[in-house]
Symmetry: C2
Subunit: 600 residues, 2 copies
């Protein structure tokens, strides 16, 4: 059922590919039929949901109301659009903007909703700083008007410089995004050096200080929110563990306090993690029951979940297969020397160097016979590495430890992506650190809000700008090519730099334009429509760059600080101690830092 709902949502969102302006044009009746099917599916789901859930609870949930409103509005829009189109009037599919709301509001979209809730929580503070920021921009614009307005300066296009208040506000806002620096400053600078003081002040205050404020606000909110969420998670888990304990407990301790026996505990672990080895389970038990009483108290029992989250790799220490068959050969001085060399760190470094040299060769001209033959040499070297490692290490340990890179090496042999081989170098650098680990958990989850916002802005942008800018194939002979098919763009830098393909003519190109706008907010588009289209770009900058990108940065900041500031949890330390006691090879146990611990 869940998959079905998601499938319908994705189909509904993907309709943007086929609706006018389309990547693959489909007739209106086709897209409408698909949309009606999707909307009906959502309606059916809501009705079903309403039957299952108590009525008052159903109507109190804003999610359900939101879905109902969106579906209703979509139906209304669809009929209106159909009616208007068939009678030949101009019609607008405005409900398309609402589609991502379905994705956010289905009960299954909990992660996404949490991300949006996090944004909503930060909004009051952000808007407060934004007010101060806009005020600062407005005052600076006023000063600029008084300073430059009467001097008759001209911009590089020959238009008057800084004479209209709203133009100045917009120009200075764009300066915050650094898109029009230093162009916006040049006329004043050419007039007098002293005017640069104004721009320097502006850049320091607005571009740097206020933008950092935004980051700081988002970051502090993100931190607060994350802490609260993790605290609740830990609390909920502890509560559940306590309930489990009260179900399993027996009064057998010294003072008659409730305890859980090893037998019950073993049974529980077997149920929860069936694929755990007996040795591993014994190890975990010996950590909890460090006095060998045969039973554990509530405090030790509650730690079970944390303990299970610590990754432990068990490697059976076995002799090498060759050693079993040819012991004298395998233990000969030459063989011992080879094994010693392979296990040396130097061996790894030498192969890193070889990979680097290989990288240089890949960069060289491919048609040179020396270069293409060298490829075979490198391949032989890599083969040799695998063979040597297999010889020196027990095969099972080899595959357990170098799991990923062995797959990589097989890829090497298949010669598919030669350049990817270089990624191996990163691995040898990363081994000493754990930058990558922190991105595993929720890195992707933070991109989702961005996609939702992109979709909404793409829909609006397509309605505003579709067809205004045309792209002509390079070998086209049309004379419109010079100005992207729009006479309004004649002579603009937009046309000169051949940005014609940066248009809102279909969903894909809209997404690409929006990505470009995220990086640098260049708004040549205002030339093709009314000047008020600037609002679109300013809004986009506020929502995406000021809020969402900052959340991404905040996520990385927090993840990084977490990595650097946590001490090992007590549990992990005692586990490692126990392992050492039992004289196992500690190196085989990959310590995993449970990020949750530090928020307690």
């Amino acid at each position: 059922m869940q998959t079905l709902v998601y499938a319908f949502i994705i189909v509904n969102l993907a309709l943007a590919l086929f609706e006018d302006p389309a990547v693959v044009p489909l007739p209106i009746w086709a897209t409408s039929t698909i949309e009606i099917i999707c909307l009906s599916a959502f309606s059916v789901r809501m009705v079903h949901y309403a039957k299952v859930i108590p009525k008052d609870k159903f109507w109190k949930d804003p999610k359900n109301i939101c879905i109902i409103v969106v579906v209703t509005l979509s139906f209304i829009d669809l009929t209106m659009y159909g009616a208007l189109k068939s009678t030949g009037y101009f019609a607008l599919r405005w409900s398309r903007v609402l589609r991502p709301l379905l994705l956010v509001n289905v009960t299954e979209g909990r992660q996404l909703r949490r991300a949006f809730r996090s944004i909503r929580n930060a909004l009051p503070q952000i808007s407060y700083v934004f007010l101060l920021f806009m005020f600062s921009v407005l005052v600076f614009s006023l000063v600029a008007l008084k300073l430059f307005g009467k001097r008759g300066l001209l911009t590089i296009d020959g238009s008057p410089y800084f004479t209209d208040y709203l133009d100045i506000v917009f120009d200075l806002y764009v300066l915050v995004t650094t898109a029009n620096s230093p162009d916006v400053m040049m006329p004043a600078y050419n007039y007098s050096v002293f005017f640069t003081i104004f721009f320097i002040l502006y850049i320091v205050i607005n571009t740097y200080t206020f933008m950092s404020f935004f980051l700081a606000v988002v970051y502090s909110n993100y931190k607060k929110h994350l802490k609260e969420e993790v605290r609740q998670l830990v609390k909920a888990r502890r509560f559940k563990m306590c309930r489990a304990f009260s179900l399993l407990q027996e009064a057998r301790g010294e003072g008659g306090e409730p305890v859980v026996t090893q037998a019950k505990w073993n049974h529980l672990v077997k149920l929860v993690k069936p694929n755990i080895s007996i040795a591993h389970r014994e190890l975990l038990w010996s950590v909890l029951d460090d006095q060998n009483k045969g039973h554990i108290g509530k405090f030790a029992f509650v730690q079970l979940a944390d303990l299970l989250s610590i990754q432990v790799i068990t490697v059976k220490s076995q002799p090498h297969p060759i050693q079993i068959r040819f012991p004298s050969m395998y233990n000969s001085p030459v063989s011992r020397f080879i094994r010693y060399v392979v296990h040396q760190r130097m061996f790894v470094y030498v192969y890193d160097l070889i990979i680097l040299v290989n990288a240089v060769f890949i960069g060289l001209d491919e048609e040179n016979p020396v270069v293409s033959n060298a490829e075979w040499g490198f391949l032989a070297l890599y083969m040799l590495e695998i063979i040597l490692k297999l010889y020196a290490t027990e095969p099972r340990a080899f595959f357990a430890r170098h799991h990923f890179w062995n797959c990589r090496q097989i890829l090497d042999i298949i010669f598919v992506l030669r350049v990817l081989r270089l990624v191996r170098l990163v691995d040898s650098i990363k081994r000493s650190d754990s930058y990558s680990q922190m991105l595993n958990k929720s890195g992707l989850f933070h991109c989702c809000p961005l996609q939702v916002v992109y979709y909404i802005f793409a829909m609006v942008g397509m309605e505003l700008f579709k067809g205004k800018v045309q792209f002509f194939e390079p070998n086209s002979t049309s004379r419109d090519q010079e100005y992207c098919g729009n006479p309004l763009l004649k002579g603009t830098t937009f046309a000169k730099l051949n940005y014609c393909k940066n248009n809102f003519n279909n969903v894909i190109s809209s997404f690409i334009v929006l990505l470009e706008l995220t990086v640098v907010n260049q708004c040549g588009f205002t030339a093709v429509t009314h000047i008020s289209a600037r609002i679109f770009f300013v809004l986009f900058h506020i929502v995406v760059v000021i809020i969402i990108i900052n959340i991404f940065v905040a996520f990385i900041l927090e993840a990084f600080l977490v990595e650097y500031t946590i001490d090992k949890s007590d549990l992990q330390t005692s586990l490692e101690k126990k392992i050492e006691e039992l004289e196992l090879n500690v190196q085989q146990y990959v310590p995993f830092k449970p990020a949750i611990k530090l928020f307690d």
Copy 2:
């Protein structure tokens, strides 16, 4: 003496204004003489310093050695330059780059040195991330070469697109600074939509993720460093306070433990802060000695420094002068109503609105008689505000509370800077918050390293690029104007956008160019010299944007988080409680958050 040393350093640094390439050209003998005087002064100071300080200590201090080396090198450079110039050879004043080191290394530049130490501490981690980052850029460049190199694409200038490995590396590096987005992507995008995936991946990984990593590394280091420094500060202060206690103590407590009597404490406070009022001192004492014993123990004594740092404004409650002279009139219902209105929050809001309307009028056309006459109306309204406030509030309290804005209002009357009046609005917004407070302490101190780095880069840049780009006055008739006096710039965007004044022809314009490069790293300069000049721009980006700007952002982040996460210190709470107990007006006491507390 200190001032003298600083004066010499500033003169020495300011020489850059007069030396070739100069803002105000002076003959070589003049600048050389000034420099010799400066260097002699430093030498004399070092000799004096060496006599005062024990020899082994003097030679162990890297600061002294650095100063000696810099002075010696400057002398050598000066003589070489003089000799070469007089014989007509080409000469380079390379020692000018070293001048800021004097500023950093004089014993008085402790703050600046601390900032540089903080940067140095962050360097190993930054360089580690930088390695990863450069590796990623190199791999992406390799992929780009393989993807685009053979397709015969052309850039907008008609030059081949992505065919040379080093060019690609540079272009992709610049894409990280967002300076050449989306230009660098357009040829590939025009060829096929699918190639944008490469650029999207690149932007997500390098422009966003890695740049955030840099910020995270700098921030975590900054935080660690700051904590350590504050901890040492607090420790040193506590140690000193303990020593002071042991000097003042008497064995008089119940258990015979050492205490300090009120008389001695009073005497101490009088010595430390002579301008503190008796009432204030009594208040502080009553906070420390909350059981009225007449003496305090070590623990309470040590808190003295923290207690003195809490700002307390004492306002004597006096009747209004008018009330004394005309009591019946001042207490009449009408007068009471006026006073009530003035003290209302609404009154402030109404005046904020008036200021806003005034702002709109300032933005309007000045020559319109209505607008210029309205100015007088606004002025009258502001006068009325002052009079009403003076009437409603006791004058001394009025000046104590609105100190700054009264000066502002006097300025208003003198009509000097009409626009600045708008800053009043910020005050009313800020009153409820304390964004400004956190910037007071060390905001400026974090700009100093930037200036040192700017100076060094300006010196190098001037040697590399001086005279290569010429600026012509707008009314000049020279035909060189089109290409900034350098045929190499013919037809480049640099010349087209009239960036001619962005040059390294003197110190001031160098600083302005460097500021522009900080905002957006546009490197049109590489056209005028060898392509290896790109290294200069990449280095500048690494040092300024990746390190120093990130330290600035880290500072703001930390300051913001500190503002938002501290609870009031215990000391402050007990002081406020005591004030309430004594039935004083709590509102008169401005609570000052001691930022140091939270690092304990």
